[in-house]
């Protein structure tokens, strides 16, 4: 073990003198995560301006305004009254996310049972705002329909026509009994930085695969691997030393990213012990990936190309660039075939406090993938050092 550590220490010393390794392992993930966090800042707290054009000036319009200013919808919206032209101009200029137009005579026609419609003004550039406004309008229309149905039912059941006004007033107090309540399994919402900090850390730590494999082939080309092999040290110890350096570098890179992104950007990586275990599992998977590249490649250039394919392929599949939850179902399933996909899942679960055992499944999955990759590498590695 001490000989393996001797080799690992030498490799790490060389790595730390290599500026590109420092940039890729420590600086780049911090900078990119910071930029992404800045770009996505506020997206986790959705809010937009809604303009209401009340051309009706009747009880329905008043009821809509009351509903919009009630909790919890008021947290999402800033509601202002406007005119049709001003609202259209504001939506077009992106000063407002959407506008609701209550047409003239809406209340009277609704009370008479005529067909009426609410208009929603949206912009293609603010699709989400438009969808929310449309949803509010649909919900409000459903409430009106329910009120009308209640009044009609009462009148057909023998209520005197003279009480219609009272019935309408009472119906307005009613709310649809069935409501959809969305509740996250986690206790805390997932912020952009809490996703992109581990996402970028894992993406850049995958570059250690390239560094590790290239270092092996450089040593072979320059004869230093032969020199090591000629020493009283087993080939296994040489490979262990190489693996150890990749592991330490990957772990240090992830740990640095976790500490700095938490302190500087307020990223949440979850409880330290669980997050540390995921980092260690991820670093082990980087070791097995490096071993696989070394055993598959024959030259430094092949190793470099292969490592690049692995890095970008895994990052795309694992969701390091985009929220996996926003990806199609196939991509979400493919993400679970990658160690980085599982690591990200583990970190996001930990960040949202999804429960004490949230890290167990990802860690087991990452270690499983690591073992499979390692076994393939080992089966090919017989002649890697001594031929």
């Amino acid at each position: 073990m001490s000989l393996a550590w001797t080799i690992a220490r030498k490799d790490l010393r060389q790595r730390l003198r290599d500026r590109s390794a420092i940039v890729l392992g420590f600086v780049a993930p911090l900078v990119i995560a910071g930029l992404m966090s800045f770009a996505f800042q506020g997206t986790e707290h959705f809010h937009f301006n809604l303009l209401v054009v009340d051309q009706d000036h009747g009880p329905v319009g008043a009821a809509l305004m009351r509903g919009l200013s009630a909790a919890p919808i008021r947290d999402v919206l800033t509601v202002r009254s406007s005119t049709t032209d001003a609202a259209a101009a504001a939506v077009h200029a992106r000063h407002a996310g959407a506008a609701l137009v209550i047409p003239p005579n809406f209340s009277r026609e609704a009370e008479n049972g005529d067909s009426v419609s609410l208009r929603v003004l949206t912009s293609v550039d603010q699709e989400l705002d438009g969808q929310v406004a449309q949803s509010i309008a649909s919900s409000f229309a459903a409430q009106i329909n329910a009120d009308r149905l209640s009044v009609e039912t009462a009148l057909h059941s023998g209520a005197p026509a003279a009480t219609t006004g009272t019935l309408v007033a009472k119906a307005e107090q009613l709310r649809l009994p069935e409501q959809v309540a969305t509740e996250s399994i986690g206790k805390h919402p997932l912020t952009a930085i809490s996703y992109y900090a581990p996402g970028m850390a894992i993406f850049f730590v995958l570059f250690a695969v390239g560094f590790g494999s290239r270092s092996f082939f450089t040593e072979r080309r320059e004869g230093t691997l032969d020199r090591m092999t000629a020493a009283p040290i087993s080939p296994i110890a040489i490979l262990a030393g190489k693996a150890l350096s990749v592991f330490v570098f990957a772990t240090l890179s992830l740990a640095t990213m976790a500490v700095v992104s938490s302190a500087v950007f307020g990223a949440s990586w979850g409880p330290t012990p669980e997050a540390a275990l995921i980092c260690i599992a991820m670093a082990l998977s980087v070791v097995s990936l490096t071993a696989l590249v070394i055993t598959l490649a024959h030259t430094e250039r092949q190793a470099e190309s292969m490592a690049s394919i692995f890095v970008f392929g895994l990052a795309l599949l694992g969701g390091n660039f985009v929220f996996v939850s926003a990806a199609p179902p196939v991509m979400r399933r493919l993400a679970l075939l990658t160690p980085n996909g599982w690591a990200l899942r583990g970190f996001t679960d930990l960040a949202t406090s999804s429960g004490a055992g949230a890290a167990i499944e990802p860690i087991v999955a990452i270690l499983g993938i690591t073992l499979v990759l390692g076994a393939v590498a080992a089966s090919l590695a017989r002649r890697t050092v001594v031929q």
Binding site: D18, D226, R227, A230
Partner: protein
């Protein structure tokens, strides 16, 4: 099979069990269908410098790599200081110092860091490691540059450090694979002087080169390899005695040199002729006497002779005699 050269003991009888630091018997290595080293046997005693001489591709480096445990032999036996090298027990490697042909150093580490790293691989630690590192730095005359990165060193300095890295653990057997390749004459002289000193200190040295004059200078015994075979071995005097009646005639000529070579081969007393660029190497019995016939042959085929040199018998002549080709072909 080894060609018998004078009274030099050959093959298995050339080994001296019990006193040999290195003993190789029937060493064979194949790469697919190609036999790179075929049944090579030789031994080296303490304080002896043994030169493996041969052109590129003769099998010298493959032989060395098997001895140093970098390649597994398909057949044969290697013993270092009486311990068989079997590929499983690497402890015997501690008796060997290996100087690869390439500059096997880390350019981004300092000279001291390089030596300390290789020293640790040989299980040197603490004060002993520091002492040996300082000792080697002094030996290779790099004490004043110890803490500078190797990438800032000249080629000759790097070559010296490359050798120094193999001496830290004081090996019984020092294996040097063409250590002077690409080195300026001054550094080459310094390296050869050092190797002579190592030999004098009792170290067994295996030295490969295709520079005949290096083998001439530092080797007690020489093995000549060609196409994977050890075709002759013995002391310089023994080998040269084998071709004692033969001179090497070196000519440079312009014109149809191939026709000139063929014409020379037809001259009675010339046993080998080989072309090397503009040069024609002849192996001739009493070269001076045959010169008129050679010049006449040149005249006949329309070749202009630019220079002629008759060289006394040497290892190059031995190689030419045994293989029919020049050493540096």
């Amino acid at each position: 099979m080894v060609v018998s050269v004078g009274a030099v003991p050959q093959s298995s009888t050339s080994t001296r069990p019990g006193v040999d630091v290195l003993r190789c018997e029937g060493l064979t290595r194949r790469f697919g269908d190609r036999v790179a080293v075929d049944g090579v046997s030789f031994s080296i005693g303490a304080g002896e410098t043994y030169g493996l001489l041969g052109p590129n591709g003769a099998g010298k480096t493959t032989t060395i790599k098997m001895i140093c445990g970098l390649l597994r032999a398909n057949a044969g036996l290697i013993e270092v200081a009486g311990t068989r090298l079997d590929g499983h027990d690497v402890r015997v490697h501690a008796r060997i110092g290996y100087v690869p042909q390439d500059l096997a150093l880390y350019p981004d580490l300092t000279a001291r860091e390089n030596l300390a790293f290789f020293g640790r691989l040989y299980r040197l630690r603490g004060r002993l490691l520091k002492e040996r590192t300082d000792e080697v730095l002094a030996l290779v005359e790099l004490s004043d540059r110890a803490d500078e990165r190797v990438e800032s060193f000249s080629g000759g300095m790097q070559r010296r450090l490359n050798i120094g890295a193999a001496l830290l653990h004081r090996p019984s057997l020092l294996v040097l694979d063409e250590p002077t390749a690409g080195v300026d004459p001054q550094s080459r002289h310094a390296i050869l002087t050092s190797i002579e000193q190592f030999g004098a200190s009792g170290m067994a040295i295996l030295y490969t080169t295709h520079y005949m004059e290096e083998a001439d200078r530092i080797c007690n015994r020489v093995g000549i390899m060609d196409r994977g075979h050890l075709i002759a071995q013995g002391s310089r005097r023994e080998l040269v005695a084998f071709v004692a009646e033969h001179d090497r005639v070196e000519l440079t000529a312009t014109g149809d040199r191939e026709a000139f070579r063929d014409a020379c081969l037809g001259i009675d007393g010339i046993s080998a002729a080989t072309l090397d660029g503009e040069s024609l190497h002849l192996l001739a019995e009493n070269g001076r006497k045959l010169l008129p016939a050679v010049l006449e042959a040149a005249d006949r085929v329309g070749v202009a002779i630019n220079s002629v040199e008759v060289v006394e018998p040497d290892l190059e002549a031995v190689f030419l005699h045994l293989t029919g080709t020049a050493l540096r072909d």
